[in-house]
Symmetry: C2
Subunit: 148 residues, 2 copies
């Protein structure tokens, strides 16, 4: 929500396409559409959200393709998927922050980044003698006086 000028969007899309191509994917029009949508979205969309947004630009796309493209992007570590509150996966570009605060009233997902989270992770890892591959902190709450 800050340094996201139009040209930077284009840059990131091109970068992701290049990365995807490098990891063996073919860059089809559908692939580009999905990447653009992910690049533009700040609301951690579900596959269905992405499917709907993609159909507006290219009505011929099928949900199977959306799932397949998202899975390929995830296997290439370009996209991260995770379940937050719901039982559906949510997708976001992998370089975005991986911790979230979910607003229980609005469903809004807020990205969290804080160096202390990593410090805490390191401390816990050391205490248990583990090498951490991935981790996430998820908070669920509401603004006082926000809803209800």
């Amino acid at each position: 929500m800050a340094d996201t000028s139009e040209s930077e969007h284009g840059d990131r899309v091109r970068q992701l396409e290049a990365d995807a191509r490098r990891s063996g994917m073919r860059i089809t029009p559908h692939t580009t559409t999905i990447i653009q949508i992910l690049d533009e979205s700040t609301d951690h969309p579900t596959a269905e959200d992405i499917f709907e947004r993609a159909r507006e630009r290219d009505p011929s796309i099928s949900s199977a393709s959306v799932y397949r493209i998202l899975n390929k992007l995830e296997e290439s570590d370009l996209v991260r998927r995770q379940r937050l509150d719901s039982d559906r996966f949510r997708y976001e570009i992998a370089d975005e922050c991986r911790h979230h605060l979910v607003d229980l009233d609005t469903g809004q997902v807020i990205g969290i980044s804080d160096p202390e989270i990593d410090e805490l992770k390191d401390k816990i890892a050391k205490r248990h003698g583990y090498e951490i591959v991935d981790f996430r902190l998820e908070l669920f709450g509401r603004k006082p006086g926000g809803g209800n």
Copy 2:
């Protein structure tokens, strides 16, 4: 893994039954079986795990009942369910710690508790102006030289 003598197990089971009854559930033999299994399990079992363990004690139980009882216990806030690595829910008694370290080689789930996690949560909540209802930290990693 420390103060879990036999009598304390019995205590906790009776306490959970009382709590469940208080919140409107009927304590059937199946209910008791499920509560006992949860009380004895330290491995964060899935519904299927629980169903299998329950069948050993009472072959007449159905998986639908297991799900229904677990859902009731969760609605009463006596049990917490969450997805960790897999796409199945895992269940644990609500007074157990809610943060986990998942061993990617063995699948073992280790409960984590650390006052700093709560301090961090409070700090983030304050920064964003939220009242946190629930939260969890999940770590995924492996012991160096452990597997693979």
